[in-house]
Symmetry: C2
Subunit: 214 residues, 2 copies
């Protein structure tokens, strides 16, 4: 059994930092990371438990000591980065920074998690339909929670007269901009997570800017 | 063999209309539509040629008269709506309307095609990795072409001083907002294609608006 390890992301120029729990046992985490890579590369349906055993260098008994089933690994992968995002977003909202700073920090947080968990996002996006209806509902609830953090940050700006409101369709559109990015952002070639996040935040802040003041 | 049928979309308030060729034989088109529905519901890997035969009420011989393979159907599905988008985008650019009108029309076009070809988009995003590397490259080229129409519309606005430029990362982000929307837009419950398109266009135009004038 491993220990809980914190993943700390700092945005010194924004005056915000978040501490993200990676609260899984070392072995379970290693299995999930390995599975995410295999599922992303070959597809969930094409990867068997035997492949998971081979890639993790574990016997079937040892593997099943840590996981319930291949499906449960898929769910844990899809839920994992959403819980990370929600934990971070919650801290950003609690930090009490100005609304535009909160937007920038939410943007940075997303990109850091995306750079870190790109395989996991690929798998979730592509294979969520392989989860049971019940598990899909759980994942959707995590996405709804995530959206609420953005709504809250936006509402604070609207309340203070800094932002104009946007519709729910527009917010979902903007979040789609983030979630879709795992498909084209190349963490090894393109700009840094912070740079991309700041360019995205600029789009969000333009949309939120009261006409005539941005 | 069916005949080529045009699909005409008008945006009377924008003074633009596009004529989109659906240039496939009746049977081939019917097979593709059926396959897109099956692949979207069950996944490409879980649908066999026998399922395609059953769903189209065709024998194997008749089916293979119209298609080369299950993989070729997948490619045609993914390529089809991108060709439709590119044909429409090309006409919008040729219409010579004001840059902001072109952006609104591109936005409307996308939503109309998305509402019409939602299964196709689902399949393309989830299953493109099941196409050969060569076919994936072809699909990516169609996406690059599509992006170029947006770049051209934006550049016209920049040249005329109506728009400020945005970075390539920002444009990809905005296009991601569109492409991701098939995941959450419900054509049967929510706003109309035009309404969603106009709300998205507003975001794009905010991002393009020179500071202090929007």
């Amino acid at each position: 059994m491993g220990e809980a390890v914190d993943w700390k992301i700092k945005f010194p120029d924004l005056g915000v930092s978040v501490r993200l729990p990676k609260n899984v046992s070392g072995q379970k985490y290693r299995i999930e990371r390995t599975a995410a890579g295999l599922f992303a590369r070959h597809g969930f349906g094409s990867v068997g438990v035997a492949d998971l055993c081979a890639a993790t260098d574990m016997g079937r008994g040892a593997l099943y000591y840590h996981i319930k089933s291949k499906e449960s690994v898929l769910f844990d992968i899809a839920a994992g980065y959403m819980r990370t995002l929600n934990a971070g977003a919650s801290q950003i909202l609690e930090a009490g920074v100005e609304p535009d700073v909160a937007i920038r920090a939410l943007s940075r947080l997303f990109m850091h998690v995306m750079f870190e968990d790109r395989n996991e996002m690929t798998v979730c996006f592509r294979e969520l339909h392989s989860c049971s209806a019940e598990k899909q509902t759980e994942i959707r609830a995590l996405h709804r929670d995530y959206q609420k953090f953005w709504e809250k940050a936006i509402q604070r700006g609207v309340d203070s007269g800094r932002f104009r409101g946007i519709s729910s369709v527009q917010l979902k559109g903007l979040l789609g901009m983030y979630f879709y990015s795992f498909l084209w952002v190349n963490p090894f070639q393109s700009k840094s997570a912070d740079e991309i996040a700041d360019e995205f935040a600029e789009i969000v802040l333009s949309a939120l800017s009261p006409r005539g003041t941005h």
